[in-house]
């Protein structure tokens, strides 16, 4: 399709990257200053399914930064107005409108329907809720937040990175001011959302090095961008008394590929075929365990990292292995 030709002609992205976007689903929590550019660029890039959660209506003071809205959409619900914009930009995107506030009552049922969550909210309370839900449902989420001229971006619940709650324990009783209290230049949430959209596209397509295990902080007044890696160790994901399970990035696997027996746990009809992999669907993994007893380390792979992790965690209980590995993302 000529719509996506300028990205599919990128060697690393290619038609396969486009297919991955088409198959993926992302929910954007908050269609405000950060959410607007996230929605705009993900829709333009050809995401398969995009959910929009927002219970607020468009006000005139939003228009300076919430670039999906205009004078004609004043007073409309933001999720509805954003869906209208996306429909015109790219009618191939399946848009799901959640035109109500994101609360502890509906959080799990909404998030469980999507692969990735993008946090575009304007308060800590909702971020703790996203964090809790995403941890329970094993969904990665991409954090973005701003304060005056500064912003933070990070990926949580991915590749064993610490949770938001582990980084910022919920001791806060002091309200941390938002854009309404503080003021904001429209470009700052714009930049923040574009960085989150970029990370989302990287996670889905498997290109590049995602911002995992680090907090990006930038300041638009002096244009300083600083990433702070977490020294926090990756938590063990297998249980007590079970063999350890290590999560690998695609690059970590490729750099030492000769050490591993690569086991593809996708169903036998899923493509692309990984030529170097042994194919054992997740449902047969216990029945065919003897095929995994070799001198090499066993590393599981699937489409996005969910089934590979499940395979490793399930076999970790068997006492047949010293350690197991799972590739936590798309291989290509």
């Amino acid at each position: 399709m000529s719509r996506y030709i300028r990205q599919t002609c990128l060697a690393e992205f290619g038609p396969e990257g486009q297919n991955r976007l088409k198959e993926a689903s992302v929910v954007v929590v908050g269609a405000g200053g950060i959410g607007c550019p996230v929605l705009q660029y993900l829709a333009a890039a050809g995401l398969g399914t995009i959910g929009i959660i927002d219970g607020d209506t468009v006000e005139e003071s939003n228009l300076q930064r919430q670039v999906l809205f205009g004078t004609s959409t004043l007073g409309e619900n933001k999720a509805v107005a954003a869906a209208g914009y996306i429909h015109n930009l790219n009618p191939h995107v399946n848009v799901k409108v959640h035109a109500y506030p994101f609360t502890s009552e509906n959080a799990s049922s909404i998030i469980s329907g999507y692969d990735f969550v993008i946090d575009c909210t304007d308060n800590l309370h909702t971020r703790y809720l996203i964090d809790e839900c995403c941890e329970a449902l094993q969904k990665p989420w991409i954090y973005g937040a701003i304060h005056r001229y500064e912003a933070q971006v990070a990926i949580f619940n991915y590749h064993g990175s610490p949770t938001y709650l582990q980084l910022f324990p919920k001791q806060s009783i002091e309200k941390i001011p938002d854009c309404v209290d503080n003021g904001v230049l429209g470009v700052l949430p714009g930049l923040t959302g574009m960085l989150q959209a970029t990370e989302c596209i990287k996670l889905i397509t498997g290109i590049g090095e995602p911002l995992v295990g680090q907090l990006l902080v930038f300041n638009v007044l002096n244009m300083q961008f600083v990433t702070f890696p977490f020294a926090v160790k990756k938590p063990r994901i297998s249980g007590e008394g079970e063999c350890p399970v290590h999560l690998l990035s695609a690059r970590e696997y490729r750099d030492n590929a000769e050490r591993y027996l690569l086991v593809d746990v996708r169903e036998s009809n899923e493509v692309p075929v990984f030529p170097m992999a042994k194919r054992i669907p997740l449902s047969e993994i216990h029945l065919r365990i003897d095929e995994l007893i070799t001198d090499k380390e066993i590393v599981f792979v699937c489409r996005s990292g969910n089934r590979s992790r499940q395979a490793a965690m399930s076999l970790a209980k068997t006492n047949r292995f010293n350690q197991l590995y799972a590739i936590h993302e798309a291989l290509y």
């Binding site: 937040a145 500064e150 910022f168 941390i176 702070f228």
Partner: protein, 79 residues
């Protein structure tokens, strides 16, 4: 012997404490630094924050060396 630590604050703490502080006190590790700061700047008792030493986010036991550059990072709220 007194040790010198340079601290940069981010976000709301920049407005409520300072952009930068120089401390001339001997602090062995991150845990001691947190106690010292929370005693002198009570707002830190009510806001969660990360401590980065030389641009790496650190845990409580991480030791502090003279002239380490320390960053104090609260979460941001707006969006």
């Amino acid at each position: 012997m007194e040790t010198h630590h340079r601290i940069t604050f981010y976000g709301i703490l920049q407005e409520r404490i300072a952009s930068e502080l120089s401390l001339n006190v001997s602090l062995k590790n991150v845990s001691e630094m947190r106690s010292y700061l929370e005693e002198n700047y009570p707002i830190l008792r009510n806001i969660p924050y990360l401590v980065a030493i030389n641009r790496t986010i650190s845990s409580l036991e991480n030791p502090l060396a003279p002239n380490d550059h320390i960053a104090i990072l609260p979460p941001f709220s707006g969006g």
